[in-house]
């Protein structure tokens, strides 16, 4: 190569080659790089000695620490269950009224219920349990299937119109689409139902129309919703005289409900979450409807 060319800026020699104008310096590798490399390799070798690392045909080196992630996880899960069991066991055993009467236990219910509700129920009922069109608001006082702890617990267990053999089931027929009522009868009954929750009516319907609507209601709707239209929780038929509406309480929404029918769906949770968790959820949603303590 002859005389080594030196880079005037760094003073290092070049390797003597050039590629389309690019040269390379023959700078020695700085010592920190070697130190760094030795440290990282030393760490790796140490870790291989301590932990399961290298395959040996059908087995592998187990490592001096005898660490096993699966055993670790099992131990962690056991410890966590142990920690929770202090209050969990009480939830399991005690009845709803006793739990509701215990503020400390209800604090556990609220803390545990938040994530349980968020992961399982919020997709339909909303993260604040306030529902939406077609999905009941769980924080108000209106309960389609009853608002006692036992009723709510049962609803969570079997669901509504679900595949569970004991499922709660209900259906609002499609009175118009299936031609069970004439258009005029539907208009009459819609005006009547609207007037139940709006004492002044809509201002357009005549007394005669409301009377006609009342007749239609008595003949067709009272079986489920009751003669007083206050609903029946046994069949999941809503109270039509209050201000809580699952599918909207405007005349257009009521018309749509009467014409096309409704059939809500809630899955059964019996095979998906434990009994204790369902109990916690029951208490949690009932607690949401109360004024904050």
């Amino acid at each position: 190569m002859g005389v080594i060319e030196r880079d005037p800026y760094t003073g290092h020699g070049t390797t003597g080659h050039e590629w389309n104008g690019i040269k390379e310096l023959n700078t020695t590798v700085p010592w920190p790089i070697w130190a760094f490399l030795i440290c990282s390799v030393a760490f790796a070798v140490l870790w291989w000695i301590l932990m399961p690392a290298w395959p040996l045909g059908t087995t592998y080196t187990k490592g001096l620490l005898g660490n096993d992630v699966r055993k670790d996880v099992a131990a962690h899960l056991r410890a966590a269950a142990e920690e929770r069991s202090v209050w969990m066991r009480r939830i399991e055993k005690e009845d709803f009224a006793a739990i509701q009467a215990d503020p400390a236990l209800m604090k556990n219910v609220r803390e545990a219920g938040h994530a349980l509700f968020g992961d399982n129920c919020a997709a339909c009922h909303g993260i604040g349990a306030t529902g939406g069109p077609g999905f009941p608001n769980l924080t108000d006082r209106a309960w389609l299937w009853g608002g006692t702890p036992d009723a709510v617990f049962q609803t969570i267990r079997v669901g509504v119109n679900s595949e569970h053999p004991d499922s709660r089931s209900s259906q609002m027929p499609a009175w118009g689409r299936d031609k069970m009522l004439k258009d005029s009868a539907i208009n009459d009954v819609v005006a009547y139902v609207y007037s139940l929750s709006h004492p002044g009516g809509d201002g357009k319907s005549s007394a005669a129309q409301l009377a006609a609507g009342q007749k239609v209601f008595a003949d067709n709707c009272a079986a489920c919703h009751g003669a007083d239209a206050k609903g029946k929780t046994e069949v999941g038929a809503p109270n039509l005289t209050d201000s809580f509406w699952l599918y909207g309480g405007g005349e257009a929404s009521i018309y749509n409900t009467v014409y096309n029918g409704r059939q809500g769906h809630m899955p059964t949770w019996e095979s998906r979450i434990s009994k204790t968790d369902r109990k916690i959820l029951t208490l949690y949603v009932l607690d949401l409807g109360r004024a904050p303590p």
Binding site: T10, H17, N20, I22, A44, E83, L116, A122
Partner: protein, 551 residues
């Protein structure tokens, strides 16, 4: 295009195009009533387009023998244009899906526009469309210059470029129709994979033939990296895509691996796609364009050697760090983690070698946005490789895995490192290839630089915050010993970061659009007198005769 081919090459090109057209027709016929049918017609169309283009230029005068004393740059130009087109499409789709995450209804309620179909268009479009075309184009440039040899023939480079882009088009149009193997970064189905093998082998052989014709006694570092990229990607692609199609008339295939073996093979592929596609190939780019632009010698040849062998040796072991805390045996996880830690050293050697090369040229970094693109790329390369090794440590991974931290890490690499070095290389190449004094507007290069840097920072910081918040929320327990937050709570917490991320992506996309405009304007014809000289191979010192293939 056709005028660069000899008559003999035109005949071969006609045969290949006709063969592709027939193949497409066969696939369309055998795959009737299957999603394979439209793809068969697409391949038929591509073959017919090839036939048409060749026949259209068939009677153009042949290139004279004087071509052999110049470099063959036409495919490089086309490759750069294709890379920029893919960049615009894929970055647009990327930002779209980013907005979708913040506002999920932003998609016209159509099947093709669902997140699951758009997202692979973004990843494939960026990695293979943008990155792949840039790699092919720059490798054609670097291999000729550092070997002081012209590409061995005119047809193979065109075949590689066109064939590769046919693969990319098959991939992204397939996603829109719902064709996917559901393997990340290896989504295209069997027939597209098969085609890519043919193209890739042609690319590999082309590279070797050029190197064999070199007039330099030694092979430059860039070529080591480009070769590693081509060779290992071939190996990864073939093994991970071993699959059996349901029938010759169906687009669907099933992988031959099962369960955790399938997962391991997939992430051995997935991580080495990062290693050899997005790292080795791009280091090849860095090792040529950065010293060229800085006008400085490489800081240390010895560091180049340790860096190269360290990277190629360590990387192939680390794929299992994508499967920490899964059904994968613990010992495989230990190996993945320890090799990831050791990998940091050669990665930083490569980054340090690039940055130390700039010693004596920092004033140029200050003044020249093109060189600054390359400098920032080297910095982000160092940052992203540090983060990668850090995230591969199991306890760290238990916090970061499945969170947006991974997204931050990937984009520090792809936006900060890959895109920046591509733009640096392109701003260096475009004036040279089109024989201009400089880019149409150096001010716009500056604008692009700052938009790209700002976009990357906004993006990466948003996703760091989002990811760590997410990871912590998922593991926070309350006094009752229960998880404090539901998954939905963490989504609500992500929302502002998703908006910030989409905004950062938008800045980056606008920067790319500015760059594309600037490149477009630079390409516009100018009078011959204003053109600069082409760089010609310095002949002489010929150690062996240089043969033109087919002569």
């Amino acid at each position: 295009m056709v005028s660069t081919l000899t008559m003999n090459e035109r005949h071969i090109a006609l045969v290949i195009s006709s063969f592709v057209a027939v193949l497409g027709l066969v696939l369309a016929a055998s795959g009737r009533h299957d999603l394979l049918e439209p793809h068969g017609f697409l391949i038929l169309l591509a073959g017919l387009a090839g036939v048409f283009v060749i026949l259209h230029g068939y009677f153009d005068p042949e290139p004279g023998p004087e071509r052999l004393s110049s470099y063959f740059d036409e495919p490089i130009k086309v490759g750069i244009v294709l890379a920029m087109i893919w960049a615009l499409i894929a970055m647009f789709v990327g930002d779209w899906v980013a907005w979708l995450l913040a506002y999920p209804d932003f998609r016209f309620d159509a099947a093709w526009s669902s997140f699951g179909r758009l997202r692979p268009i973004h990843t494939t479009g960026i990695i293979f469309g943008f990155g792949g075309n840039a790699l092919i184009a720059t490798s054609f440039h670097v291999m000729q210059r550092t070997s002081r040899a012209r590409l061995p023939d005119q047809l193979t480079p065109w075949f590689v470029l066109a064939g590769y882009n046919l693969f990319c088009v098959l991939a992204v149009t397939g996603y829109l129709m719902g064709i996917t193997q559901s393997k990340e970064y290896a989504e295209p189905e069997w027939y597209a994979d098969f085609w890519l093998v043919i193209v890739w082998v042609a690319y590999f052989v082309l590279y070797l033939r050029t190197l064999a014709r070199r007039r330099e006694p030694h092979i430059y570092v860039s070529n080591w990296y480009y070769l590693a990229f081509i060779l290992v990607v071939a190996m990864l692609h073939i093994v991970n895509n071993l699959a059996l199609p349901i029938s010759i008339g169906s687009a669907k295939s099933y992988t031959i691996f099962a369960g955790v073996q399938d997962a391991m093979v997939q992430w051995w592929y997935g991580h080495n796609a990062v290693a050899f596609f997005l790292t080795a190939g791009f280091l090849g780019m860095l090792y040529y364009y950065l010293p060229k632009r800085a006008g400085r010698p490489i800081y240390s040849y010895r560091m180049s050697i340790i860096g190269f062998w360290g990277i190629t040796f360590f990387y192939v072991w680390v794929g299992s760090h994508h499967l920490h805390y899964t059904a994968l045996p613990q010992w495989v996880q230990t190996l993945g983690m320890t090799f990831s830690v050791m990998l940091l050293v050669p990665s930083w050697i490569a980054a340090a070698n690039a940055l130390l090369t700039l010693n004596g040229a920092w004033h140029k970094v200050r003044d020249d946005a093109t060189l600054r693109f390359m400098m920032v790329a080297a910095v982000f390369y160092g940052l992203a490789t540090f983060e990668g090794s850090f995230l591969a440590i199991r306890p760290v991974n238990s916090l970061s895995h499945y969170t947006d931290w991974t997204i931050a890490h990937v984009h520090a690499g792809t936006l900060g490192w890959n895109s920046m070095i591509i733009f640096g290389a392109i701003y260096y190449l475009v004036p040279q290839l089109w024989k201009r004094e400089r880019m149409y507007s150096p001010a716009l290069v500056e604008v692009h630089f700052w938009l790209a840097v700002a976009g990357t920072f906004v993006y990466v910081f948003a996703m760091w915050n989002s990811g760590i918040t997410q990871g912590l929320m998922w593991r926070t327990y309350n006094d009752s010993g229960m998880l404090a937050y539901s998954f939905v709570d963490s989504l609500v917490a992500m929302h502002p970061y998703y908006i910030a991320r989409a905004f950062g992506g938008l800045l980056f996309f606008i920067g790319t659009a500015v760059g594309a405009y600037n490149i477009w304007k630079t390409m516009q014809p100018i009078p011959a007198a204003e053109r600069t000289q082409a760089d010609l191979p310095v002949l002489g010192e010929l150690s062996r005769p240089i043969l033109q293939a087919g002569e």
